[in-house]
Symmetry: C2
Subunit: 255 residues, 2 copies
Amino acid sequence: MRNIMIEIEYDGTNYSGWQIQQNAPSIQEEIAKALKKVTGEEITTHGSGRTDAGVHAQGQVASFQLHSKIPAERISFALNGKLPRDITILEAKEMPEDFHARYSAIGKRYGYCIMNNTHGSALLRNYCYHVPYKLDLQKMKQASETLLGTHDFKGFMASGSQVKSTVRRIDEINFDTQGSQIWITMQGNGFLYKMVRIIVGSLVGIGTGKIKEEALQNILETQNRRVAVKTAPAQGLYLQKVFYPLTHQGHCIII
Amino acid sequence: MRNIMIEIEYDGTNYSGWQIQQNAPSIQEEIAKALKKVTGEEITTHGSGRTDAGVHAQGQVASFQLHSKIPAERISFALNGKLPRDITILEAKEMPEDFHARYSAIGKRYGYCIMNNTHGSALLRNYCYHVPYKLDLQKMKQASETLLGTHDFKGFMASGSQVKSTVRRIDEINFDTQGSQIWITMQGNGFLYKMVRIIVGSLVGIGTGKIKEEALQNILETQNRRVAVKTAPAQGLYLQKVFYPLTHQGHCIII
């Protein structure tokens, strides 16, 4: 059996999320259908993690076992020919047999787009979170530093998820302003359920003055969101990159 | 009667174009419906010009006569509350009575987005033209200079349009590369039917080597596209700005 990794861009607007589910369109199902058409095989892909309804990806990664002898460099072209236009395979690579998109991952980068203007944007309605209030970016940046490093992020996790540990490490939180757009980028070893959107919601609350700067420290310490934090909406969120150890960078090792 | 100018952003994906037509959704119709809901009046808006199905706008301008006493600065909020999310009124201004979005216009700027990579982009499928071939940007830039200035652009006009004169002036053609995206921006005193898309199609043909650089000069001279120029698709095109004389910049002149 061959072990294949694919890197995927998708527009999450019309999907209920990454994960296959009954009676709801998912990215994973569309990819399984395309793989079936291309190879004739029933293939289960393993994503690096789930993304929620409306969340986008610029670099989701999935891995799967394949019998077919189709050359790795043809897989992306073949799948893109069968996939709907809101899902694009950016790359496909032959991987060592122990590679697994989820278990081998050592980090992730998410981007979040805020449209900070009066009327929002018709063109970006499904790709940004419209915040019509003035944001104090300096305050948001300063507050975000509290979150850097290794912490128990239980207070920043939405209910409905079962994980062994709620300790995560955030290596970087960056702010980048382009016109009316504010991009918040976060990189870390992993993120809990809705953690990025709850962090962005908190930072926006701090930026508008609704929430005090100290709130983040309190949530970390008490593991409890006592302040009213709005979870930022799905459409502003992008899974940008999944990181793997150097041995799993996929240098076309044919096995 | 008051004379109002609105500046409009829209996502053209789900519309048959700016202009009202029977049995097909149009931006103009949606705005008329929203104006009816807000003011109770049957209002005909005059756009600065039409845009085709799938073409976007970041700064379309329309003007209309209004009885209602609603303050100009409330009009955008009121309309946005009634409009579908893919149309946004960016601004509304009280104008002198002789202002007309079409007849007062002295220039326009269009942007065109090319996605120049192997697999295209799921997120930008409706917002860029995917060109998977290597483009010689230097050649394209050089060729575009032929078009600068005042010329008879009849050879760059699609059939199906009645205009008195096919002479237009192009003041600027700019190329801006951002990652895999190439933005071609054109500014001039006006553009003929599908002229921007035919120019972009010609430039892409030159960039891939399918068309000779001299072709543009030939089309200008003969007013005839004898070479096979592909009209670039609608979804890459954005009406970015409409220019008016200084006296019509709309400094809230209340009449």
